[in-house]
Amino acid sequence: MSNLRELFQYRALLWALTTRELRGRYRGSLLGFLWTFANPLLLMSVYAIVFGVFMAQQLPHYTYFMFVGLLPWLWFSSAVVGGTTSLSTKRDLLTRVKFPPQVLPAVVILSELCNYLLALPLMIGLALLSGVVLRPVALLFPMVLALQALFTVALVLATSSLNVFYRDLQHLLTNLLTLWFFLAPIIYPASAIPARFREAAILADPMAVVVTSYQAIFYYGTLPDFRALALAAGMSIVLLFMALSIFESRRDEFAELV
């Protein structure tokens, strides 16, 4: 836990690095801001064309449905990819000053979170365009977001510290994320999973719980499955404690091995 407390102590550093990251990305202009969405938008148009037109899904407002799950997934996957290498690529910082290492993955998660939040107006705009009515359950958004943040922090703390020791982890993870993306009901509804494994497939995967919860509150306008959310939160907390112990046991060696 001392790692998390220290993160709070260094919040000025965390804040400075995060705003710097975002400023660098947006270059202070609307165009720069839009440019950062070029990649996800392109990706989404691919899925929208493939699954909305070619292999047309039965789902109404399919593009909006996909947006609801894909945006948080992009936050998750870019945080995992960027966060995993956040320590192993910062030799200059870690070997020359006393630097709190947990700040580095946290900066990645935070700046990707900002990206996600800034993309939400796009999603809401699309909802309005498609004629989907947002229900009051959408106000549960912060709860789902908090769960996703918890899970992401836990996972990235572990992978970032392990990547200092096993540099091939980052490549392995990139591929695993692709697999994970297709296994989680993001571009298809959970009902497309055969009923036999549906529950197990979702409950075993905190990201599937997160995505289906977003879909519940933003797309279906129903309450999320609180039982599943609680289970995912429990799994994330267990993972967080494991990740913190991995991080703690290895952090002394970051400066020696990066």
Binding site: L94, R167, L169, E256
Partner: protein, 271 residues
């Protein structure tokens, strides 16, 4: 504040050796493959760099650390700076400490000089507003105004060093730890840095200098330590320590054993 700026007691430091030869684990793949074959990892070999260093630096003193390559000088500095945690022993640092190690000050290569000044200032515990007040003196001292908004990865090593020196000394730490940095820069900048260091000393700050240049120790230091194979071989007045160090080197050169081979494990009889 206590009268000592730095107190080190029984400092030991060993490093895990990363072996890329078969049997070493630097990838997840190799770890998995060996694990799947039921192969036991070879016992981790460790390099013992510091083997019980006791050192006290009184507040306001300037300490010079000398020693051959591989004697553990830089490791000791990094332990003082809090970059490494010692394997054993106790470190007590009293005051704000800035370090100039390996000709750098913890810069982010992609950030501009200006952004790195803020980054460093915040790491050293200054607030944004305090740095706002210091930024112009820093830029002026480094003589990099023209390049200050360019990423530091485009800087030459001299520019990098000048900025690092300007930040570390302007941010006004209580303790400054420098590794061979006084020798960098042209004559003009060296003179400027010397004035800055003089001033630093006059204001009762503590300075630790690691160097191979005996002249640096003679000129600046009130105290010296000779580090040999991870142990303090001599400490005291710079002249005496340097004399002992020089004669030992001369002796080793005569007997042809200057390059100290692999270190014997701690506790083994020393030649």
């Amino acid at each position: 504040m206590s009268e000592n700026a730095i107190e080190l007691a029984g400092i030991e430091k060993s490093f895990r050796r990363t072996n890329l030869a078969p049997g070493g684990h630097t990838t997840f793949k190799s770890q998995l493959v060996d694990w799947a074959r039921g192969r036991k990892p070879p016992p981790a070999r460790r390099l013992h760099v510091l083997r019980g260093v006791d050192l006290t630096v009184p507040r306001g003193a300037t300490l010079g650390v000398v020693g051959q390559n591989g004697s553990g000088k830089s490791t000791l500095l990094k332990i003082m700076a809090g970059i490494y945690r010692p394997t054993a022993g106790r470190v007590r640092i009293d005051g704000r400490l800035a370090a100039l190690i390996e000709l750098g000050a913890g810069f982010h290569p992609e950030f501009s000089g200006r952004e790195n000044i803020y980054l460093n200032g915040i790491i050293l515990g200054r607030s944004r507003r305090e740095i706002d007040a210091l930024i112009d003196p820093i830029i002026d001292f480094s003589e990099l105004r023209e390049f200050i908004d360019e990423p530091v990865r485009t800087y030459s090593s001299g520019m990098y060093m000048r900025l690092a020196f300007a930040v570390a000394t302007t941010i006004d730490p209580d303790i400054l730890v420098v590794d061979e940095i006084l020798a960098v820069g042209d004559e003009h900048f060296q003179r400027k840095s010397a004035t800055r260091i003089e001033d630093f000393k006059r204001r009762g700050k503590t300075l630790i200098i690691v160097t191979h240049a005996a002249a640096t120790v003679e000129r600046w230091c009130d105290l010296a330590v000779w580090l040999d194979q991870g142990l303090v071989a001599a400490r005291g007045a710079p002249a005496q320590v340097l004399a002992a160090y020089r004669s030992a080197i001369a002796e080793r050169e005569r007997s042809g054993s200057v390059a100290a081979g692999p270190l014997p494990p701690p506790g083994a009889a020393r030649a």
